[in-house]
């Protein structure tokens, strides 16, 4: 059984009750179409389980096939440093077919952040180490593509449609 090697920690981006019985971790890439498809599914899952579920998103940009994935991940981390990670996370997935440096700046502006600061952060690579650390933690945990989900620390293999994830999480809640 493949398990999460890096436990959920304070520097992670998490939504939901930190004492929730179940934690769902997604390793994702903002430019990956499969992750784009998973995005509304995860939203439904969160709604369905409410307080019983905590959701954590970690970066796993596949830069060779998704040339904008790294910038997108760093843009989300930039917003995160201003406590607006999830707002940016959502906007990125909702605009994933339109990625460009200009779009990232527009999204930042939409959150009332300074696009000049974003440009600086991207150029200096301020958030690159964070993204790389997410990526390597994922590689060490057996992330084998995007998205990869972990439910209470165990990799979820197989399909991840709404019904599949509900069933897998129900199973884990019952076992808890």
């Amino acid at each position: 059984m493949t398990t999460l090697k890096i436990a959920v920690r304070p520097e992670d981006h998490a939504q939901g009750d930190e004492n929730a019985t179940c934690t769902l971790v997604e390793y994702g890439d903002y430019q990956c179409p499969h992750c784009g498809r998973a995005y509304p599914i995860v939203k439904r899952i969160q709604k369905h389980f409410g307080k019983r579920l905590r959701f954590v998103f970690r970066n796993f940009p596949l830069n060779e096939i998704h040339p904008q994935a790294e910038s997108a991940a760093e843009t989300a981390e930039f917003a995160g440093s201003h406590d607006k990670f999830w707002e940016m996370h959502d906007r990125l997935f909702e605009n994933q077919t339109r990625f460009s440096p200009i779009l990232f700046e527009e999204l930042v502006q939409g959150l009332k952040l300074d696009p000049e600061d974003l440009r600086e952060a991207l150029t200096s690579g301020e958030f690159r180490a964070h993204v790389r650390s997410d990526f390597m933690g994922g590689a060490r945990s057996g992330v084998n593509g995007t998205p990869t989900f972990f439910i209470n620390g165990q990799r979820h293999d197989g399909p991840w449609d709404y019904e599949d994830l509900v069933e897998a999480i129900e199973g884990r809640l019952a076992a808890a």
Partner: protein, 155 residues
């Protein structure tokens, strides 16, 4: 199905085409660890993801001074188109003629399907297998096993 070679076994040498006009022999890489990743076929969805993942993790493999080699029964021209399409930065070897001969010496050939297993080998700098793993054909094994094996190599 034959069992795959396990840790402690000297890795059988081979010479295979890596481009239409170049060959590569395992013994040329003696002195550094080698990751040998057998996979069933170019272009099939799981393989593409698996090799794509290794392509992204390449810098980490290089930190261990390790050389990654992908290997399947596809021919050189097929490999060339595949590697170019996916921006791979590591060689793909053509175990093409006689078909699957190298896979067979590693116990990683699926005769009934005519392709190699999805099998991984980490070979130490002395040419001895340090770790091996065969994944169900439909499952992308990820890189955690390889990274662990590289870390466990004596320095």
């Amino acid at each position: 199905m034959s069992a795959i070679l396990t840790a402690g076994t000297p890795a059988p040498d081979f010479t295979l085409h890596v481009t239409p006009d170049q060959t590569l022999s395992l013994r040329e890489l003696r002195g550094k660890p080698v990751i040998l990743a057998f996979y069933p076929a170019d272009w099939s969805p799981v393989c593409g993801d698996q090799m794509g993942l290794y392509n992204e993790i390449l810098p980490e493999f290089h930190k261990h001074d390790a050389q990654l080699l992908g290997i399947s029964v596809d021919g050189v021209w097929c490999h060339e188109a595949f590697a170019k399409d996916r921006h791979y930065h590591f060689p793909l070897l053509a175990d093409f003629e006689p078909k699957g001969a190298v896979a067979q010496t590693y116990g990683a050939y699926r005769k009934q399907d005519g392709v190699s297993e999805r099998a991984l080998f980490v070979i130490d700098k002395n040419g001895v297998i340090a770790w091996s793993y065969v994944s169900p054909v439909a499952v992308n094994p990820g890189a955690d096993g390889i990274l662990q094996a590289l870390e466990d190599l004596p320095k």
